[in-house]
Symmetry: C2
Subunit: 370 residues, 2 copies
Amino acid sequence: MTGPLDYVETQRVVLFSEGDPLRLRGGGRLDHVEVAYETYGELSPERDNVVFVCHALTGHAHAAGLHLGAKKRGWWDNIIGPGKPLDTDRFFVVAPNILGGCSGTTGPLSLNPATGEPYYLDFPMLHMSDLVAVHRKLMRHLGVERVYAGVGGSLGGMQILQWAIDAPDEIEKAVLVAASSRLSTENIAFSSVARTAIMSDPEFHGGRYVEHDTVPRLGQKVARMMAHITYVSDQSLDTKFGHRRDTVGDEMRMEPDFAVEHYLQHQGDVFLDRFDALSYLYLTRLLDYFDPFADPWTAERLAAARTQFQVTSFDSDWRFDTRQSLRMVEQLEACGAKVDFAEIASPFGHDSFLLQPPGYHERVAAFLKD
Amino acid sequence: MTGPLDYVETQRVVLFSEGDPLRLRGGGRLDHVEVAYETYGELSPERDNVVFVCHALTGHAHAAGLHLGAKKRGWWDNIIGPGKPLDTDRFFVVAPNILGGCSGTTGPLSLNPATGEPYYLDFPMLHMSDLVAVHRKLMRHLGVERVYAGVGGSLGGMQILQWAIDAPDEIEKAVLVAASSRLSTENIAFSSVARTAIMSDPEFHGGRYVEHDTVPRLGQKVARMMAHITYVSDQSLDTKFGHRRDTVGDEMRMEPDFAVEHYLQHQGDVFLDRFDALSYLYLTRLLDYFDPFADPWTAERLAAARTQFQVTSFDSDWRFDTRQSLRMVEQLEACGAKVDFAEIASPFGHDSFLLQPPGYHERVAAFLKD
């Protein structure tokens, strides 16, 4: 066993350029696509030990380990590392920031080569397949033709599912956690409220807020506070905060008083520093339209695939609930795919995929060991 | 049987004035309290047939019948009227707008007699008992000492519960529908996001938006859109809207496209015309702090009461779910109260209390007939 993942660095690479643009599923193209990514472990001489990790809505490439001088470890450090389920003694783990994001990979605030200005709302609408096309190009850049396992939670899992559909020979094992093959109407509704909050904010300036040296602070904060509630469970909020408040007895105040209010304010505030409102718009919109089994090619492609799927849901996850996972399982099995499904008991809601409820990591480890 | 309730009128009465102010539970007082209310049916000579209806968060006094020239019937017209469960051939139904509201009863936009200006955020924080004190004064104004039945859904039910605690001899039967004796932490969280949206809106102007001839449009709209999602169920959104959208195939757009988005936009927009942001702040905050069984007097008072309770929840209501009703039932029974509880099957979420899922109206009618 090697030591822990201290220290790691984010790397950057230009994967598409004017002579070799990224042609988008929706018809447009991007003439310059740069990708931020990290890797952990060593690529085997046979180049057959790649585990590709896709992050969720507001994630980034720093999935594991420590950046030099930093104190906070990567967002999925509990599952990636020596001896962990995504075992860096065995696997070469690749974790990029996704297309449309705001942490090093090309997104709406990147410069449009045609104008020399940020894209803003001229950035093209993205399809899940566009994110996958960038992942696949990154693999070829690393000299890899086939991925041993693709692993992702939430939007991350949906990227892996789309990859298995778009290139059925490239992923041997697909680990889809707290994911969905089509959002619920309620999911779309919540994201629509979030976008309304952002786009109606007077500081949004039609998406050109950077030019005005501002951000749509109110809208972005409210969007995140609301979304955060949907990522946790009723029970976990009760357990963590209950009705604890600053005032006592019959005292009341309009300003935040309950512990859960202070917590949400904090979550909303830190989100302003770490994420961009336009990326939030583009990536939530991408999710709304994600519906791969509506595509007539999907069944045919999956029938040709040898990919083994592992689908995991969490019983307290009401944002991407077990019914959504079960529908995905049925759709995959109807295409002849092999699927290992389980619902894990966990009190933490959708965020369970980032945590370690009993049985979850063990399950992923077993699937990757086979 | 008399004819249908065509036509009804809203009445107004000043219930508290400088010489006889409303002394608030929190210690302050209101020197002028006016109440808007409607009545349906006739008060019996014995004055023993009163059914008192309390509305929910954004309701008003126009609970049933038609206003002259109007097309839309009162918000609970399906349950109030001749031959209906709240049978106006038998009962004298009283329906006021609540204290802190914005439809005729004194609230934050009412004039403060001390300054001659609207209260705005100088309006006192309200306790559920303050709303009840106004209801009780209205009853005395109508010459009634005892209410045969108090009926309310959601916040309406909580007013009835508080009334049964504050004046245990005044309510013979209490009908509590989709209510709670204490909000969940998640409920407080959602309301906190709504308040943040309103109070951070640049058009809020510290609550004095009327002076600026504006309203916190963005915040109030977003608050309502979000809250609306919590009033319905995942299933009802799927059934009603599914993934219907304006675009087709691979087309996408950032602006509202899905049917559920247009619906939420509409709900948000009409809310701006029919409700006031400050009332929304005060009444949601009142709910956050509602916790009558934390009061040491509650058990003693309920033990002295003869009130019969009927508690009803709906299986798809996740805003005030069955667990909350069951806890209330346990608390009431622990105080020696008689409680008839049932969970009704209904796909419509919290809004079920306004609709007619099978068994619901029948149940209320049977309880009031006994």
